[in-house]
């Protein structure tokens, strides 16, 4: 209804401007910390945590403020009547208000934010490349603010009856933040969460409006949406409680075992307890004496590991990692490399390596196939789409299916390390160097193709070339260890995590391949499989029942399946990663979760029975409470409008005050006591 729309816009315009200024000031402050002289993270610009924190918290606050401002003044007593007693449906009034609110909110939030983005995009602002796609996290936060806007509408609309209503507001806000945190760091999940969460909150707020804040008159759809909001909120609350509890405990000390290679070339099995090195044995299991010094500075004695980046994800584009965080700079450009006064990045879209002068914040060097040229000169030939970038110690490797480049930022050179032979494709590659605490700092490059394992210097001088190993089952190279003075390389192979389940992998051995470049020998050692890393469970384990994982896991599985069905590899990967992460977790918790669910459903059944609202449809409610666990129970408590129960004046049994007939004796409600002073000439008594 345009009348309502313009009235709302005019009424709240100044507030929106005020909010915009406030938000802008906060953003400006966050922005200024990005440019603080000592901030070595200023390359992240619009993705800096300190800046994003303003959008993450400020946008919801702005949205909530606008939502409250649009409802609170009109909720005062009879002002509400003035609003809704009009010959239009409550729908129109609500959507008029909401449309006005959003029309005010988005410019108020976007204008300062986009100004920051525009500033960041200007050359000379930051010593790093900038891609407008980097505004996505901020935009997502601002969109989440709209979520909180509806959450505030919902909270303000709910009739304040008793103490429960104040907690309700908390639950609604937590429900919003549950959606946001469920969005997580993955762009895809963010999109899904917002696309699902926003309509739910809109419908819940709309229902509350149409029913004047009460529960019973709401349309069914709105009641369902409200239930979801409360459920998310309760789940989030419990999650917060258990997180806080865990924070009081020190980081769960990790126990586990690892294969390492020391600088003498021994393959060692390292056992860690409570995060510290506990004991060392060799491959056969014989113990190896560990000195105190070695316990303290383990890294000093080890020959690695270097990570071999696998390329078996989609080719030739950068692999679509749906589960990777879009909120970090490294998702758009690479990790920065540091040389004297310069910062180095890889820009995947353009296909160049870029060097920025730290003081002047200007682009100085552009690196392509032929090497690095000054930014004012014509651009070199780009590297093109890559399979991966391996950045370590200022000597990155750029990997493609048929080429590997090595960049030297100090010498400003690019080396082509490898060209494939017929039918040869690159499977993995990495930089081999002893651990950063050791006294050596020489590096070599290790490549695994489908035919060979190659080793060479960072400039391309070959060190060794051996045939690729063949295994019965599918194995991938994961780590390489390097002893520079002997030119000895060790490559660790592990079973393919995607192909084999956890149980299968538990029985499959690891392999360590030793390549002695000097003497040209190759040795393969079979190593027994290692048990999984686990954390000793602190007392907070008993709070596990608060975090109901069944629905979360079900959501992930369903989304992965949908992704597969519609052919969205990104979606499938995103949710599969989530699912894999929770898969083993679920196995430990399925039984307790079921018990918790049954308990919650039992309590809910008792509640529904005791409060005399039990009817056939309640079985469905119980099923939902079972799935929702404790959070479902809490949501049920706050969701339903429990009718008042009193003793029947006739028969004494408990009965609901909102029903006419007593279930026990069938009597209606008695008329108020008459004391003879009534003057009812026109009626007024029940006939």
């Amino acid at each position: 209804m345009s009348g309502i729309f313009w009235k709302e816009v005019r009424e709240n315009f100044l507030w929106a401007v005020l909010g915009m200024i406030g938000f802008g000031i906060a953003l400006a402050y966050g922005w200024s910390t990005v440019f603080a002289p000592n901030n070595w993270q200023s390359y992240q610009s619009i993705l800096s945590p300190s800046f994003l924190m303003v959008t993450t918290f400020g946008a919801p606050i702005l949205g909530m403020a606008l939502g409250f401002l649009q409802i609170m003044p009109e909720r005062l007593r009879d002002r509400w009547a003035f609003l809704i007693h009009r010959p239009v449906t409550p729908n129109r009034i609500f959507w008029g208000k909401a449309a006005a609110g959003l029309t005010l909110y988005f410019p108020a939030a976007l204008i300062p934010f986009l100004l920051a983005g525009w500033h960041a995009s200007m050359p000379g602002a930051i010593a790093a490349p900038f891609d407008w796609a980097m505004i996505r996290p901020g935009l997502a936060d601002i969109f989440c603010g709209a979520l909180f806007y509806f959450g505030a509408l919902l909270t303000a609309l709910r009739e304040t009856k008793w103490f429960g209503s104040k907690a309700f507001g908390l639950l609604a806000a937590l429900g919003c933040s549950a959606v946001v945190s469920g969005a997580g760091n993955s762009l895809l999940q963010t999109r899904e969460a917002l696309l699902v969460g926003l309509p739910i909150l809109m419908v819940a707020a709309w229902g509350a409006f149409c029913a004047n804040g009460e529960f019973n008159p709401q349309p069914r759809l709105a009641k369902a949406a409200l239930a979801l909001v409360l459920f998310f909120g309760a789940a989030e609350l419990f999650g917060l409680v258990s997180t806080l509890a865990e924070m009081t405990v020190q980081r769960p000390p990790w126990n586990g075992q690892q294969y390492q290679v020391d600088l003498q070339g021994r393959i060692l099995r390292m056992q860690y307890k409570y995060g510290q090195l506990n004991s060392v044995s060799d491959v056969q299991g014989n113990p190896v004496p560990v000195s105190a010094e070695m316990k303290e500075r383990t890294e000093k004695w080890l020959a690695g590991p270097g990570l071999l980046q696998s390329l078996r994800d989609s080719f030739p584009e950068m692999p679509k990692k749906g589960h990777e965080s879009y909120r970090i700079f490294e998702n758009y450009f690479s990790d920065p490399g540091y040389t004297d006064g310069m910062l180095w990045f890889y820009a995947p879209k353009q296909g160049f390596s870029l060097g920025y002068h730290r003081q002047n914040r200007t682009l100085e060097w552009i690196g392509g196939v032929e090497g690095f040229v000054h930014s004012e000169r014509p651009k070199p030939q780009p590297f093109g789409p890559l399979g991966s970038v391996v950045s370590q110690n200022n000597n990155p490797l750029l990997l493609k299916k048929d080429t590997v480049y090595s960049l030297d930022w100090v010498e400003l050179q690019a080396y082509r390390l490898w060209t494939p032979q017929a039918g040869e494709t690159l499977l993995a590659a990495g930089v081999a160097l002893p651990s950063w605490e050791s006294d050596f700092n020489e590096m070599a490059c290790v490549l695994q193709t489908n035919q060979h394992i190659l080793g060479m210097t960072m400039k391309g001088d070959p060190l060794f070339e051996v045939a690729a190993p063949s295994f019965e089952k599918t194995y991938l190279s994961q780590y390489c260890f390097f002893i520079p003075k002997d030119n000895r390389f060790f490559i660790e192979y592990r079973p393919d995590g995607r192909k084999y389940s956890d149980d299968e992998r538990k029985k499959m051995p690891f392999y360590m391949q030793e390549i002695d470049a000097k003497n040209s020998t190759v040795t393969m050692t079979e190593m027994p499989p290692l048990p999984e890393w686990h954390a000793s469970r602190p007392w907070t384990k008993c709070l596990d029942f608060l975090n109901y994982r069944v629905w979360n896991d079900a959501n992930s599985v369903l989304s992965a399946w949908i992704g597969k069905a519609i052919g969205s590899e990104e979606m499938e990967d995103s949710f599969r990663w989530n699912r894999d992460h929770f898969h083993g977790y679920l196995r430990h918790n399925l039984i307790p979760d079921i018990i918790t669910g049954l308990l919650a459903a039992a309590i809910a059944a008792g509640l529904l029975w005791r409060r005399l609202v039990w009817e056939r449809g309640c079985w469905g409610l119980l099923a939902l409470v079972f799935l929702g666990g404790l959070a479902g129970l809490v949501a049920l408590w706050f969701w339903f409008d429990w009718p008042r129960v009193e003793a029947c004046p006739a028969c004494g049994k408990r009965r609901r005050t909102d029903l006419e007939a007593c279930p026990g004796c069938g009597a209606g409600w008695p008329e108020p006591v008459r004391d003879g002073t009534e003057i009812l000439t026109f009626g007024g008594e029940n006939v």
């Binding site: 009009r86 009460e214 008159p217 006419e660 108020p672 003057i679 009626g683």
Partner: protein, 313 residues
């Protein structure tokens, strides 16, 4: 039940009950208001009048019971029904940042039928200027503006919740005049609640009195005054204790007299009073306000003795 219909009562309430927590704010209310009636809703603060009105207007959900406004269920208000009913809620709310003229235009945009003549007449009657900011108006002027906004759509039923609250006598008079103006047309019904009994006496056809959620009286003003009578008993010496009569709502004793306010006094009651052997019994007419105060006031004796006799009842 549904359908416009010009027959049937304007408002029909059956068994309407509302609980707030454990308290019955409205208890089994039965009430029927015919069309064309000017209905005065009386009661102390907190008696349940405003809650009843809000339930009728579909703003508050009843706990149980039904109510119909112009034949429509009060839990299912439609835009068509809202067009036919004018509602002036307590407090005379307007959007303060609008000017008087803007208020009119804003409101008019919602209604199909809007009589600008009425609007301007009422505005003029209350001496409002079109450019004045609504937030800067005095209480009485705001009431006039609200009234203009409510009357301009020419509603069939007018519901006014304490419209004279905070108004000066001139504004109150204007309000009454506007109400009477509405009834120029037959079949226009007015429901209003008020504490100003002199105003109620002027314009109401019927009154209803609510007391602690319960409807205790529904009659004409004359009926009410006829049934709430004061008896003054004069004694030679100190009067005895007041008799236990069912309809006794108020008693007052001085050195020589006892004044009893009795509702629905019967011959039996008169016999009891004679039985106290007073020198004289005088039956007095009470004004509406007096009668009302006795009717809904605290029961019990108010004594004004030179020395204390102790309270009773």
């Amino acid at each position: 039940m549904s359908g416009k219909g010009n027959e049937g009562p304007a408002i029909a309430i059956r068994g309407l009950t509302k609980y707030y927590g454990g308290q019955k704010v409205v208890d089994q209310l039965h009430l029927e208001i015919p069309r064309g009636c000017i209905f005065g809703f009386l009661g102390r603060n907190g008696a349940g009048k405003t809650t009843t009105i809000r339930m009728l207007m579909g703003i508050v959900e009843p706990t149980r019971g039904t109510a119909e406004v112009l034949g429509h269920d009060c839990t299912r208000w439609t835009p068509e029904l809202r067009e036919r009913v004018g509602y002036l809620a307590e407090g005379h709310h307007v959007y303060g940042w609008m000017s008087v003229a803007e208020c009119g235009r804003f409101q008019a945009g919602f209604y199909r039928r809007w009589n600008w003549d009425i609007f301007h007449a009422v505005i003029g009657h209350f001496n409002l200027k079109e450019k004045q900011r609504a937030g800067g108006l005095s209480r009485g002027q705001r009431a006039g503006l609200c009234l203009a906004l409510t009357l301009a759509p020419e509603p069939e039923l007018l519901v006014l919740d304490d419209p004279a609250l905070g108004l000066d006598p001139v504004a109150r008079r204007s309000l009454l005049e506007a109400m009477l103006y509405v009834t120029r047309q037959d079949d226009r019904t007015i429901l209003f609640s008020s504490h100003l009994l002199s105003d109620v006496e002027r314009v109401a056809d019927r009154i209803a009195v609510m007391d602690r959620g319960v409807l205790r009286a529904y009659c004409t003003i004359d009926d009410f005054r006829a049934r709430v009578r004061q008896f003054i008993l004069r004694f030679k010496e100190r009067p005895p204790a007041p008799p236990e009569l069912p309809g006794l709502v108020h008693s007052f004793r001085t050195d020589r007299e006892m004044a009893l306010t009795i509702v629905n006094a019967s011959d039996a009651d008169r016999a009891v009073m004679s039985g106290l052997r007073p020198e004289a019994i005088e039956e007095v007419d009470l004004g509406l306000e007096e009668a009302f105060v006795s009717y809904v006031g605290e029961r019990g004796e108010k004594s004004f003795f030179l020395h204390d006799l102790g309270g009773k009842k």
